[in-house]
């Protein structure tokens, strides 16, 4: 099973919330802090490694603020085993 991660560019984010809605495992949340434009940016919070790198968040983002990575399956298994 693949896993992934995203990087959200907080300074581009306007807190529109579309990525939250689009994310299937729900690993995007609204941050507690505000960015320099005064918005509460989206933030990636995935303690259980649920992100699959599907990139639906990046696809809906109107500010092209999300970069998406996907791990190869063997690498993820290795990470889980090392953490465990």
């Amino acid at each position: 099973m693949a896993s992934g991660r995203i990087i959200i560019n907080e300074e581009r984010c306007k807190g529109c919330g579309l990525c939250l809605e689009a994310c299937p495992p729900g690993v995007i949340k609204v941050a507690d802090h505000i960015n320099s434009m005064g918005y509460r940016p989206a933030t990636f919070y995935d303690p259980e490694f649920l992100c699959t790198g599907c990139a639906l968040c990046a696809i809906v983002c109107p500010d092209a603020g999300i970069t998406v990575f996907r791990n190869k399956p063997m690498a993820r298994q290795k990470v889980i085993m090392e953490v465990a």
Partner: protein
């Protein structure tokens, strides 16, 4: 940016999109449309020969966000200005980016005639059923019953007539080679929209005639909704009146419409 070993970059912002904050409202799908156009420009590797004709509306500064040669047309005149550019510089890829007021109201004559002449141009048409920049007035694409700042009791067909379905109209003209409607209200539809935008640019590269992609878009601010509610309104209220689909596809483009695209998002 740190990357881990065995990790694959799946999506990053396209190069043709300037790395700046835009003035668009949070959740406004202009941002999505700009991004899709930039991705297509990257994938087709046409940045160095593309010319954007920007229009008047919320997207008046689109040339600050797309890294291509660009000019600003008078309100409604983008199709005529683009005609002038393409006729004298036929090797450039010339596209207009217009909202519903610009294209369907003041610019309807120039739009229809560019299509009638079969100008080898691409039109990206953002339909959000309202005049955004000027503060939320009724557009020719506003729905019956829709309340706007200039139809406060809801659009009344006896007073203001019926909304215009542009891609159906233009599909009737012999010079139109690709006339389709897509939507930007969720990820699945955004992916389909991108494919259509790419075909529209390919139609120009093939020298076929006029291509137009109508993109149903949101205006959370003037619809007085959250971005998510606005996406739902596109799905629930706009699509029934503005059905998604392909209203004209020239035979030469048929194989492209059936082609499966493997990339999601950026140029990887």
């Amino acid at each position: 940016m740190v990357t881990f070993p065995d990790e694959k970059l799946v999506y990053e912002r396209p190069e043709a999109l300037a790395d700046v904050s835009t003035h668009y409202c949070p959740g406004c799908t202009h941002g999505v449309a700009h991004r899709l156009v930039a991705e297509v420009i990257d994938e087709l590797a046409i940045r160095e020969k593309t010319i954007l004709v920007a229009s008047v509306g919320c997207s008046v500064f689109s040339y600050n966000y797309l890294d291509v040669d660009a000019c600003e047309a008078a309100h409604g005149r983008a199709a005529a200005m683009a005609t002038g550019i393409k006729r004298v510089n036929p090797d450039n890829v010339v596209f207009t980016y217009q909202g519903d007021g610009d294209l369907a109201s003041i610019g309807i004559a120039e739009t229809i005639h560019a299509a009638a002449r079969g100008e080898n141009l691409t039109i990206i048409f953002l339909n959000n059923a309202i005049y955004g920049m000027t503060g939320g007035q009724m557009a020719p694409t506003s729905l019956i019953g829709q309340k706007t700042s200039s139809s406060p009791f809801g659009r009344d067909e006896h007073l203001a007539g019926y909304p215009l379905r542009i891609v159906e109209l233009l599909a009737e003209l012999d010079g139109t080679v690709y006339s389709v409607r897509r939507s930007l209200h969720d990820a699945r539809h955004i992916i389909q929209a991108k494919k259509a935008i790419k075909i529209a640019f390919e139609a120009q590269l093939m020298g076929l005639g006029l291509s137009i992609v109508e993109l149903l878009s949101t205006c959370p601010t003037n619809w007085h909704m959250t971005p998510t509610e606005a996406c739902d309104w596109v799905r629930d209220a706009m699509i029934p009146y503005y059905p998604l689909g392909d209203y004209k596809v020239a035979p030469e483009l048929m194989t492209k419409t059936n082609r499966k695209h493997s990339a999601i998002g950026g140029a990887r």
